[in-house]
């Protein structure tokens, strides 16, 4: 049948009901089948690995090597906390690379969702600082589960002009009732629970006891009425600190570095009880669909350039030994780092891997405390 005939009939108002129905039917069929027809190759994004990471690490600055080799950035998906990330991965989301922390490794690797990294495929591996990955629970047949990417501290960022510091810097600052309603905190149990353990005086090797749960819950409940905001979003935290909305908050190194760069009088405390130290990095998905690209992403992330960016712009420790050569001792001191990263790591409290049951109990308790119960 002729399309023009039909259009003519339509214009004259003579299109029969049957012919109309048939046209409708045909257009319906074509509408449904069009997506099934072969299509032209799409944008190259599909050829790149997907990197599942914290918001803030999804930036081009880490991927100079990768872009030089493959021409474009990998794909990014971001999360707010490791609990959320593992939950999404275990419910079927596949990203080639995910970004947990070292103390999460036993739990994460036991899910069967990950594969050890073949370090012979990483050209920058020889420059890595071994203390950051060479721990028994991170190794399987000599291959690491996690490739470290950044390390640093969870401590207190405070406004030197607004926070009335009496005596030494200490975790008590975040429990200071004089600043009630002007204190902030991170929202993820992974940081808060351990910091509260330091405040409560619970040794980390006893954290999996009922006594520890009681003590830590008690200090966190005591703190909650003083807290203005719990957030995992460093941008909100930085804005609130810059505005003076909060005068002190539990924070990571990056908040202080970025706020100082903006001229905000802010300091990263060295609490007398010690800060929480951590190492985070990348794990490779067991079914990584773009495995070659994924190895290039890993290689780029542990490159000297990426480590320098981590140190200079975020204040995190770099994992590539070469990166330290470009910094003077004074510069490192300002960033809260030292030439030998092991010194900094050992000066604080280092999180110990825990069981899935502990993690569930901790998260559940913490979420309830956050809601006020």
């Amino acid at each position: 049948m002729d399309v023009l005939d039909q259009l003519g009939a339509l214009r004259e108002g003579k299109l029969s009901r049957r012919a109309f129905g048939r046209s409708l039917f045909a257009s319906g069929i074509s509408l449904v089948t069009v997506p099934m027809l072969p299509r032209r190759a799409q944008a190259a994004a599909e050829d790149h690995a997907t990197y599942f990471t914290w918001g803030g690490f999804d930036i081009p600055d880490y991927f100079d090597e990768y872009v030089a080799k493959r021409g474009e950035l990998p794909n990014f998906v971001t999360f707010g906390s490791v609990e959320e990330a593992l939950n999404k991965l275990s419910s079927g989301f596949v990203a080639d690379i995910a970004h947990p922390c070292l103390s999460d490794v036993p739990r994460w690797s036991s899910t069967g969702l990950f594969q050890p990294v073949d370090t012979s495929r990483l050209s920058n591996w020889a420059d890595m600082i071994p203390e950051l990955w060479n721990v028994p629970y991170n190794l399987k047949d000599g291959m690491p589960w996690m490739v470290p990417f950044e390390w640093g501290q969870t401590s207190i960022a405070y406004r030197t002009d607004l926070f009335d510091l009496q005596g030494e810097e200490s975790w008590d600052m975040l429990w200071d009732a004089r600043h009630a309603g002007r204190l902030g905190s991170l929202g993820a149990g992974g940081d808060v629970w351990w910091c509260a353990a330091i405040k409560a005086g619970v040794p980390f090797d006893q954290i999996n006891t009922d006594m520890a749960f009681e003590k830590i819950s008690a200090v966190l409940r005591e703190q909650r009425p003083l807290i203005r905001m719990y957030t995992d979003d460093t941008t909100s935290l930085d804005t609130a600190l810059a505005a003076g909305e909060i005068v002190a908050s539990m924070a990571w190194n990056s908040s202080v570095v970025s706020l100082s760069a903006q001229g905000v009088p802010v300091k990263f405390a060295r609490p007398k009880e010690g800060a929480l130290t951590w190492v985070c990095g990348m794990m490779l998905h067991a079914q990584a669909p773009k495995i070659d690209s994924a190895y290039d992403v890993l290689d780029s992330l542990i490159s000297e350039a990426a480590a320098v960016f981590n140190m200079r712009d975020y204040g995190y420790g770099g994992v590539n030994r070469k990166a330290f050569a470009g910094f003077s001792d004074e510069e490192l001191a300002v960033l809260g780092l030292s030439r030998n990263p092991v010194d900094t790591l050992q000066a604080g409290h280092f999180g110990i891997p825990q069981t899935a049951e502990w993690d569930r109990r901790m998260t559940e308790t913490w979420e309830q405390i956050k809601l006020g119960f």
Binding site: E83, R228, G244, A356, L371, G372
Partner: protein, 302 residues
């Protein structure tokens, strides 16, 4: 088009089916509805059923145990947290609904009775806030309500307060304000429609018989606009009671609502069965509230 074409088309469906469909009008209707019904079943009923089924499961480590039980529901009765949060959500949603309807009524009234030209333009202007994304609107409120925000700066400048008012942001007040603004268009439109429908001759008659404007409003306009007000309440209340993003962004620790707990259960707490049970309880609660509104509507229309 030729006759041969016709016969070729007619031969495609089997005769028996054609005859069956010709004879039973209802089946023809269902066949036409089938795509929509399938979509509804797949996208609404199936997930809903899944939620109900999952709410009877339990957890062991990271795995779900699919043996049915009512453990999640009994836990909800035993733990006061759930009752408090549900109560708080209902209270915040009710306040936001009442505030919004009270603020939107005059606006709708103005457009319905006091504008004579470009009514559509007026309505478009009123829905203007809806032209930006919901998230942006909430962010804009953070700027307005913040510690060094527009409102606090203005209050300080005018000398009304000496210290910035901290309770403006990260509080239940903030949640109520943002909800009332964000959902305003949902309240304005139904009220406007019911006001617009009112027969103006009633008002003229009342005026002729000596009613003052105020009496005219309370005896004629207001009662006749009540169906719109009830509709506006439903449109506001049902979505706001389960709100998650607004409290998460401006609520602070004390402004968290039940939606945030459900999110935490499906997110960091990784306890889907408990989250599903909570969702089911919320569906029932909102259903009850909706029923109350429907009864109210019946009463009003009588």
């Amino acid at each position: 088009m030729t006759l041969a074409d016709h016969s070729a088309m007619a031969a495609v469906p089997p005769r028996a089916l054609t005859r069956f469909l010709h004879r039973h009008e209802a089946w023809r209707g269902y066949l036409l509805l089938a795509p929509a019904l399938t979509l509804m079943a797949a996208a609404i009923l199936f997930p809903l059923g899944m939620t109900v089924v999952m709410s009877t499961w339990s957890l062991s480590g990271y795995d779900m145990v699919t043996t049915p039980g009512i453990g999640n529901y009994t836990a909800m009765v035993e733990n006061p947290m759930f009752g408090v949060l549900i109560g708080r959500s209902l209270a915040v949603a009710t306040t936001a609904t009442l505030v919004t309807v009270a603020l939107c009524y005059p606006m709708a009234y103005f457009v319905a009775f006091h504008t004579y030209r470009h009514k559509a333009l007026w309505l478009i202007v009123m829905t203007l806030p809806f032209w930006t994304s919901y998230l942006l609107r909430v962010f804009a409120w953070k700027v307005v309500l913040g510690y060094e925000g527009v409102l606090n700066t203005a209050l300080l400048g005018l000398g009304v307060v000496e210290q910035p008012v901290a309770a403006l942001l990260y509080s239940q007040t903030a949640v109520t304000i943002v909800l009332a603004h964000s959902w305003a268009a949902f309240a304005i439109l139904p009220i406007y429609v019911s006001l617009e429908k009112i027969d103006r001759t009633y008002l003229e008659a009342a005026a002729d018989l000596g009613d003052s404007p105020a009496r005219r409003f309370w005896r004629i306009t207001f009662p006749l606009s009540l169906p719109g007000v009830v509709a506006a309440c439903i449109m506001m209340f049902v979505p706001t009671v389960g709100e998650y993003i607004t409290p998460a962004m401006v609520g602070g620790p004390d402004g968290m609502l039940i939606g945030n707990l459900i999110q935490a259960m499906f997110g960091p707490m990784n306890n889907w069965p408990a989250g599903a049970a909570l969702a089911v309880v919320m569906i029932l609660t909102i259903g009850l509230a909706g029923l109350a509104f429907l009864l109210l509507d019946r009463l009003v229309r009588r």
